[in-house]
């Protein structure tokens, strides 16, 4: 609400949001036993990163002068999204395969290669 009062959004705010999402994603990866949960964690992490990119890229948020990244930020964000899609597809395929072979999606069971 302070923000609403002062009415100025800065890059930092975005960064903080990104940080929270990032952390949430990491925790998600670390906690979930369901492989798909891990995947969702990854998505969260990527989005956290994306927010930072966009924030640095937006000339709207930047103070006086050019935004640090300019258009590059958005392009990066775009590529991240695309690659995230690819990653999701492959990861899902792997998960299904794992499910077909082991009858579970519990990542703790996926330790055939443990030392």
């Amino acid at each position: 609400m302070i923000l609403v009062a002062t009415g100025t959004v800065s890059v930092t705010h975005y960064l903080i949001v990104g940080a929270i999402m990032f952390t949430a994603g990491v925790v998600c990866m670390a906690v979930k036993r369901n492989a798909l949960g891990v995947l969702m964690g990854i998505e969260l992490v990527l989005n956290g990163a994306n927010i930072n990119f966009v924030a640095f890229g937006s000339s709207y948020l930047a103070g006086e002068g050019r935004p640090p990244l300019g258009l590059d930020g958005e392009v990066m964000a775009l590529f991240v999204i695309l690659l995230a899609a690819a990653e999701a597809a492959v990861a899902l395929a792997i998960t299904l395969n794992f499910y077909n072979n082991h009858g579970t999606v519990d990542v703790d069971r996926a330790d055939d290669l443990r030392g």
Binding site: M29, K32, V107, D108, D111, D112, L113, G115
Partner: protein
């Protein structure tokens, strides 16, 4: 198309077609029909097409250069008409020159044009000197230059004159007949063959796959090489194809290589030929070193497009009326020391060349280089001795009969052995009179020895082989005594009837499955075609005919040879023996040929087992017999206007050999007669009569001994005693060679191998032993020290790995936590310890 370009094209294709069929059969032979049956068709088609092409070429040749009427008239008239007849020739030469001039597109034709032009002019000079000389019409040129550096140049080229065209026709014609014949003769090879003459260790006979297609593959290659020799434009090319022919004959003689006799025969033929080729190489080197060219005719240097005179031009320069002389190159070569003397202290090359050029005539007078030319000639002749089985290298030919009969017919009677004679004929202008004398003697000795051996031989093919040798001797002798046309004429006719004879014998062997004449007899009724055609062959080879009227082909050629020999003997009485050799040879020839025929066909069967097996050969074999028989009869005839073999040959008589020359050569004074003089009435008559009588006597003797046995051969043999055994053992030539050459070689080899085994092997073994000791030490070091280190490293790695694997729990979430810990740690370290903030 211009003849100057047309002829090389036609003959070149005719030359290459067999190569194509060879390659085709080489790669796809066994896939051609069942058991490669159609390889025969391929090869035959190839050689047949070459035949067609050659005939076409001959037609073109006759169209452009109609031959000259040879005048067999009186001496006087002949002298009277000689001039204008030669004017004829000259005019032809000039015409050809003009033609070639007109045809001047492309360097090569141009070169021809220049060449002929030059000859034409030189010829003009000849007229003024009153020494009217015929110009042979010849086209020469190069297809492809292999190597050219400085004065030296190697190339694939052609030298085409009437002999070339004629030989093409003859070779391809005979080869075609023999291909057809062989298709029938070799049909056993279509199926697995049981070779009774090979005894395996297991005792039983050998059974092997048929080699039908391989046979025709070798035949095609042979045709290609033979035609290559004929068309060759320079000595190097001749030599290459010379060796190729040798290889083919090796293949073909050793066709039944499982038989010990066959393989040894093949090797013998090859090795003996190498001996001759060694001499040939010497000759080549002499020419190459001295003259820097091996081309027969003048040619154009592609690099600097100037005309380079060929051997013929060099040895018999047109400028000097084609009188034979030692070329400058050889003179300078021989006078190397003098040249060095001139060159010493001189820096300017041009000047040296000038002085040498000035000095050369003097040296030539002084006789420099005559030996070189002599050696060159002798060397080349050595090659011919080997190839056409002259004394002392004739021993391989009879053994070569181990090959299949068509091979004997084609390779070892009609064509390959003829190559030697052909080369002598081709190389004739360069041969000095004393070389010719040597040739004549070699020929004479050969023909006599071979004939005598043939008398006692019982193997039908060997008889023919020895007769071949002696006929070749005839040719050589003819060439040697100056009968250029006579020699080559006999070459052509002999090619026909000898191939005919061989094919007949082949068909006999095919019928009787044996070579031994003593087992034959009375085959006349069983196989009439073979018998009659063979009779024609015999008549042809003994030169039968109605004197002065008409005769078989042999009649003409043999008469010519006799006449020439007689003339020679008259001019230089010292060498009269040559004539006796010829005459005696004719007698013996007649004797053994008819001995052969009578023993084979006449009388009653001696061996019933053979007789009842005997049968007439299939059509595919008899038809070639008939064809060849026809040619054996008519080959010698000449149509009015000289349309005949002799006329054709006359066309390309080497320039300047038509006149009598008398020199005092290295071997004493010789006077070579002009061949035309041998047509003089008296000589002609005497020669003809001699030939007829000797032949008749021979036939008669054979008849009384073998047809109506008034005189028993055995008794005669007992009477002759040692002479007979001497002949039966073939003059002990093989034994002689074995003692003189083979044994010493073997002994030397044994000695060398002894040294090798004892000394060198000992040395090497010692070294090896030492090396092994060192290696032992090495190995110990390796095992203990190096391996120790490596194993230690391995063990350490292993144990660490064992420890580390505990870390890899395979729990994904743990890994994530590790990552987080790492990140945080880095941040904290960076910010706190190093007092910097990673974030900007």
């Amino acid at each position: 198309m211009e003849i100057a370009t047309l002829l090389p094209l036609l003959l070149g294709i005719a030359w290459l077609v067999p190569l194509a069929s060879f390659v085709a059969i080489l790669f796809f032979g066994n896939r051609m029909g069942p058991h490669g049956k159609f390889a025969a068709n391929v090869a035959t088609a190839a050689i047949g097409s070459s035949l067609v092409l050659s005939v076409v070429a001959l037609g073109f040749w006759l169209g452009h250069h109609p031959p000259v009427a040879l005048s067999h008239g009186e001496h006087g008239e002949e002298h009277a008409e000689r001039g204008d007849s030669w004017l004829h020739l000259t005019s032809y030469a000039e015409k050809s020159a003009v033609r070639a001039d007109v045809s001047g597109h492309g360097d090569q034709e141009h070169a021809d044009a220049e060449h002929h032009g030059a000859e034409g002019h030189g010829d003009g000079h000849g007229h003024e000197k009153g020494l009217a000389l015929a110009e042979p019409v010849a086209y020469s040129g190069d297809w492809y230059t292999l190597y050219s550096g400085g004065p030296l140049r190697l190339s694939i080229g052609w030298y085409i004159d009437s002999i070339t065209v004629l030989m093409f026709v003859v070779v391809t014609l005979i080869a075609t007949c023999i291909h057809v014949y062989a298709a029938g003769y070799m049909h056993d090879e279509l199926h697995p063959v049981t070779d009774a003459e090979v005894h395996l260790a297991s005792g039983g006979p050998l059974t092997r796959d048929g080699r039908f297609h391989r046979f025709f593959q070798a035949l095609s290659l042979f045709c290609f090489s033979m035609l290559g020799i004929v068309i060759a434009g320079n000595l190097a090319m001749v030599f290459v194809f010379w060796e190729l022919v040798g290889i083919c004959s090796w293949f073909l003689i050793g066709f039944y290589f499982e038989r010990h006799s066959a393989s040894t025969a093949a090797n013998k033929a090859f090795i003996v030929n190498r001996v001759g080729d060694f001499g040939m190489l010497i000759g080549l080197m002499a020419l190459w070193g001295g003259l820097g060219t091996l081309h027969f005719g003048s040619s154009v240097d592609p690099a600097t497009s100037d005309i380079r005179p060929g051997l013929f031009e060099l040895v018999r320069p047109a400028a000097h009326g084609h009188r034979q002389e030692v070329p400058d190159g050889l003179v300078a070569f021989a006078a190397a020391n003098e040249v060095a003397g001139l060159a010493s202290g001189q820096s300017d090359q041009q000047a040296v060349h000038g002085e040498v050029a000035v000095a050369v005539p003097g040296w030539r007078e002084a006789g420099y280089g005559r030996w070189l030319l002599f050696i060159a000639g002798i060397g080349i002749f050595c090659g011919c001795v080997g190839k056409s089985a002259q004394v002392p290298l004739f021993v391989w030919l009879p053994d070569a009969m181990e090959g299949p009969t068509p091979v004997s017919a084609l390779v070892h009677s009609a064509t390959m052995v003829a190559a030697g004679v052909y080369l002598v004929g081709r190389f004739y202008p360069v041969l000095t009179p004393d070389v010719l004398l040597v040739i004549a003697y070699v020929g004479g000795i050969t023909l006599f020895i071979a004939a005598t051996i043939a008398v006692t031989a019982n193997d039908i093919k060997r008889v023919l082989a020895y007769s071949t040798v002696s006929q070749l001797g005839y040719m050589m002798l003819a060439l040697g005594v100056g009968g250029w046309v006579a020699g080559l004429f006999h070459l052509v006719t002999h090619a026909f009837f000898k191939s005919l004879l061989f094919l007949c014998s082949g068909s006999v062997i095919h019928a009787c499955h044996t070579n031994d004449m003593r087992k034959m007899g009375g085959l006349l009724k069983v196989m009439p075609y073979t018998a009659w055609t063979m009779l024609i062959g015999c008549l042809a080879i003994i030169g039968a005919g109605i004197p002065f009227v008409i005769g078989m082909s042999g009649y003409y050629s043999k008469d010519a040879i006799l006449a020439q020999a007689l003339l020679f003997a008259r001019l230089n009485p010292a060498h009269g023996i040559l004539y006796l050799a010829v005459a005696g040879g004719a007698f013996i020839t007649a004797f053994y040929m008819f001995r052969l025929w009578f023993m084979t066909f006449a009388g009653s069967p001696r061996d019933h087992h053979v007789a009842e097996h005997a049968h007439e050969s299939p059509r595919v074999m008899t038809v070639p017999l008939v064809v060849l028989a026809v040619f054996a009869v008519i080959a010698g005839w000449g149509l009015p206007g000289g349309f005949g073999v002799a006329g054709l040959l006359e066309q390309s008589r080497p320039a300047g050999t038509a006149v009598a020359v008398s020199t005092d050569a290295i071997l004493g004074a010789i006077s070579l007669p002009a061949e035309h003089d041998s047509h003089a009435g008296d000589i002609h008559v005497i020669a003809t009569l001699t030939a007829f009588l000797t032949a008749a006597a021979g036939v008669l003797l054979a008849a009384i001994m073998y047809l109506k046995p008034l005189v028993s051969p055995a008794g005669l043999a007992r009477l002759a005693g040692p002479a007979y055994t001497f002949l039966v053992n073939r003059w002990y030539v093989d034994e002689l060679y074995h003692a003189v050459f083979v044994m010493p070689t073997l002994r030397l080899a044994r000695l060398v191998s002894g040294i090798d085994k004892g000394l060198i092997d000992g040395l090497i073994n010692g070294l090896a032993w030492a090396a092994r000791q060192v290696a032992g030490i090495d190995a110990w070091f390796d095992r203990t020290v190096v391996d120790g280190l490596v194993n230690a490293a391995g063990r350490i790695t292993w144990s660490t790995g064992i420890e580390m694997r505990r870390l890899q729990t395979g729990r994904l979430r743990q890994y994530v936590m590790f990552i987080v810990v790492g990140t945080v740690a880095i941040f904290v370290l960076a910010t706190l310890l190093f007092r910097t903030s990673l974030a900007g």
